[in-house]
Symmetry: C2
Subunit: 411 residues, 2 copies
């Protein structure tokens, strides 16, 4: 066994970001993830700009084999079959699939899966060992207006995240990375794996229910913003954390540097790098409490040094003193970090036909396992690419039956 | 079996936030997590302000039974034993523990665990089935200055996260929620569960290696900032997403509202809520492309409406039209959302002695499982609280041996 999830089959009824990211992680761990799409209205992610084609990256699709980045990224290592769930003959096909599956992952709005006949009750009646993971905006039990589709910006607003960056009184800060979409699939993956372990031990599956709002709120709540505020500490402190002393982001001549010097030893190193080693004996800065009390002067002194120097020089001087420091990079630089690429934490995307074109990077599976082959190494499937493999080989449908399903528009 | 990880024993050699959050999640799924602390220098999280005591929340510890919020939150559902790993007699105790364990989770700096005799090679020689999860700043294989301790602000800077919020040319934006610390434990939990599944199937454990920088960078790379920029789309767009039409955060008379109206139907609902339903036939706003082209006028019209009205009224008017909308809440409000509390996604913290005092909230386990009792329901252990249960009952040490270990300062 070369992957942790070898032999695990997962039916993937997800679209957008949250659901497909969950099944991408499961595929990266070795599960056979079968993405199910309506033959006449495929996943809209296939039509999202930008695209990658033989001639590289482009905003508009103009060739048949151009593939959207959304699909190139989140379709990796998955299989794809077609099935029109609204067709009267689809129920029998769904039942056959469920009996071969270990888990379903879906991210319909609350209530929709039940209505179209593929809900938890229906699926578990067909296969009691099945793990059924539901990712929704506000929970599988949501009622009324809470059933509405949640979007990342809604979830960020409700979770408190937008009022943790910046300073008190500033407008909210929408975070560019869609954590409102990305927190839930991580918890849903954890829940799916845990339920698979339990199903292997007991023979019984169950529903795993993760909400976008709950997942992000639980992470926001890890930092005691409320308790800090109630005990007299500021909750929004912008780019610095003055309660830790010299700690935060500072402008350089050509960019910004992050410096973390919460201890006396790090602060001594920082002052030495600044060429002002004596400051560590200055009564204003000799202890953390003093540095906190005099943080405006401390920060002004640091920034007077950083703004006169290039970011790389500042980082080098601090590293030489053993002080944690780093340049502030943009996503394009970060993704190309050789250390991340070597570890597979970011990867260069391959086009299914044209291979390594366009120099496009994406996230990898940031989990290294010493005895398993994990990660995303296969390009995304075309629409219905695995119909024969799944319906023919896995379910054992005859060539005639397959053709009939095609002719009737079921698949 | 009432929990997915019943019967799983995990040795927890973690401190700070990333490591303890990983083992907290595993404890919430039912694993027996045994936290190991030096008897003379316990986890510094026990000494972090703020605290909770009989008399409620406080910045300064002034009673023996005051407990830090950090421990109250991240110590939930864990056991605690003492062991001085530097004591010559500790190796034999460690060996006995490892033989009873299914997994170790540690977040020492790269190389440290090997040096103190509890590294992967040493542990797996004692128990080949053991899963050994390492959480570090830059990876278990880091060399030289990369071995330095990573802190959330460093990881945020290097990952690209800080240059995804705000507008082009703005300074970097440090995000208040420490995603630099929180991404890695989620992936480490996924990796640990996957490796436990594989170990159950094959009888062989392995090392799971997750870095703070890799984990956060992989999430940042989920959004194609670089490709958007290269194809002419802005990557930093502040509180709005103009490429989706009316989509973002708007000021109200008394706060801010998040509105997501990317489709024609949602936009028609938005204009109706504004009392200007005719605008949907206006050539400036009739299609997404037109709305994108005229987004400054569109946003000005929306904000002219929202700034005249209270947030709650704006949200109500939009909900009546089926338009996704929500108030921007602060973390204190978010944690107290009855919907989150009912689902256990946020919870009220209990003091180990005084119970429900101080009205302090924290994150729950945002995974609901229909057939399992999961979540955080037990207060944190005191230092060495489970020495008898672990050394006496689990390892079978005699009372005399336990006393000798205590007398020698081993435990």
């Amino acid at each position: 066994m070369n992957t942790p999830l070898e032999g695990v089959t997962i039916l993937d009824f997800t679209t957008a970001l949250a659901g497909p990211y969950c099944t991408l992680l499961l595929a990266g761990l070795g599960a056979r993830v079968i993405k199910i799409e309506n033959p006449r209205s495929p996943d809209t992610a296939r039509g999202n700009s930008p695209y990658l084609g033989a001639d590289g990256l482009k905003a508009v699709r103009d060739r048949d084999d151009d593939v959207s980045l959304a699909m190139l990224e989140r379709g990796r290592n998955k299989w794809a079959v077609t099935l029109d769930l609204k067709h009267p003959a689809a129920g029998a096909v769904f039942a056959d699939l469920v009996q071969k599956a270990d888990a379903i992952v879906e991210n319909f709005s609350a209530g929709t899966a039940d209505r179209i006949g593929i809900g938890y009750a229906q699926a578990s009646a067909l296969n009691p060992r099945l793990v059924y993971t539901s990712i929704s905006g506000f929970g599988a039990d949501a009622q009324g207006s809470s059933q509405n589709k949640a979007m990342d910006t809604i979830v960020q607003a409700l979770s408190g995240l937008m009022l943790t960056s910046g300073h008190p009184g500033d407008p909210p800060v929408r975070v560019g990375v869609p954590f409102g979409d990305l927190a839930a699939p991580l918890f849903a993956t954890i829940g799916t794996l845990a339920a698979l372990m339990q199903a292997r031990a007991t023979g019984r599956g169950q529903q795993v229910d993760v909400s976008l709002l709950g997942a992000l709120s639980a992470l926001v709540a890890c930092e005691p913003f409320d308790a800090m505020q109630r005990t007299g500490q500021a909750a929004r402190t912008g780019n610095a954390v003055p309660r830790l002393g010299a700690f935060g982001v500072f402008a350089c001549a050509d960019g910004h540097v992050s410096i973390c010097a919460p201890t006396d030893a790090f602060t001594a190193g920082l002052f030495a790098a600044m060429g002002q080693g004596d400051l560590i004996t200055d009564t204003r800065f000799a202890s953390r409490d003093q540095r906190v009390a005099n943080s405006p002067e401390l920060y002004a002194l640091i920034e007077a040094w950083t703004t006169r120097n290039a970011t790389d020089d500042v980082v080098r001087a601090l590293e030489a003193q053993g002080v944690p420091a780093a340049p502030v990079r943009n996503p394009a630089e970060a993704m190309r970090d050789p250390r991340l690429l070597r570890r597979g934490e970011t990867v260069r995307l391959a086009h299914p036909v044209h291979g390594d074109v366009g120099e496009v990077h994406a996230g990898g599976l940031p989990i290294r396992m010493s005895a398993s082959q994990v990660g995303f190494d296969a390009p995304p499937p075309g629409l219905g690419e695995h119909n024969n493999a799944v319906y023919g080989q896995l379910l054992g449908y005859s060539a005639e039956k397959l053709q009939a399903l095609r002719d009737q528009g079921v698949i």
